[in-house]
Symmetry: C2
Subunit: 128 residues, 2 copies
Amino acid sequence: MNYSQQRNCILNIVVSNPIHPTAEQVYEIARRSYPNISLGTVYRNLNQLSEHGILKKICSSYGSVRFDGRTDPHFHMVCTHCGKVFDVELEELLSIKEKLSDMYGFDVINYEVSIQGICKECKNTEIA
Amino acid sequence: MNYSQQRNCILNIVVSNPIHPTAEQVYEIARRSYPNISLGTVYRNLNQLSEHGILKKICSSYGSVRFDGRTDPHFHMVCTHCGKVFDVELEELLSIKEKLSDMYGFDVINYEVSIQGICKECKNTEIA
DNA sequence: GAAATAAACGATAATCTTTATTAAATTAGT
DNA sequence: ACTAATTTAATAAAGATTATCGTTTATTTC
C-alpha cells in the first residue's frame, strides 16, 4: 500500500516535521510540492497511514486531531499558551497494557497521555 | 455563576449519569425536563462548567468530546467495539505533575489518559 | 417588592473539521 | 502498451461546535 507520490509526500511531511501537524498544516506544506493536492487526499492518507500504524493520531480536548511520525511509546504535552506540542517520556506508563489487562480484563490497542499546561518558554516570557 | 435552571439540570445530568455523555446525549436527556432547551445552551454550559473545573472534558481520537462529572484524578478506557467509556485508576500516574515540572519545566494544568481497546464484555461476546 | 442591570436562554446561522461521492488520472501487473 | 485496480482532485455533504441576537430570566439596588 505504498504507492502514489502524494501519499509519500504526506508521510514525509509528518515524519520530517516533528511539530505534530494537523491535517490542515500537512495540507499547506504538501501544496508546495503538489499545488492542487486536495484536502480530502490529505485526510484519507493520514487516516490510512494511521490505521497501518505508520503514523499515530493524537487528540487533545481542544482543536483538531494531530499526527505524529514517531510511533514508539511516548506522550504529549500541549502548551495552552503557544499551542505547541512537546514529546514526553514517562517510563512508569510503559507497563500500562499488562496492568489494564490484569485489573480490568481490557485488551489495550492504543493509549495516549495528553497533558495540558504552560511550557517553559511561555512561563519565562510571561514573567518578563 | 450557578444560577439558571437549565445549567443545574445539565450539571445534574452529567454528575448522575456516569456514562461520560456527549453534548448531544446531555441534550437528549435535558429535553425531558426542558423540551425547548437549545443545543447551544447545552454546549455553552458544559464548556463553562468545564472551565470552572466543575466538570471535565474528555477527548478520544474518534467521535465527539465527552463530559465527566467525576473530577478527582482518574482516567478513561474507550472500548472501540461498543463505544462505552470506563473509569480507570492508575496510582502511578498521580505524581505526573511534579515529574513533568521537574523534567521539562512544564506547569501542568490538566492531564488526561485515554486508552483504546476491547472491553471484557465485548471480548466475551466475540468469542461466543 | 418593583425597577434597573446583568446574565442566560432559544432559535438559528455560521464555522470548522472531517468524511463521502464521482469522474478523471495514475499505478501495477501482464 | 493494455487492462484492472487504486488514487486523485473537486466538490458536496455530514457532523460537531461556536457565534449572533432579540427575548427571557435571574440578580442587585433601592
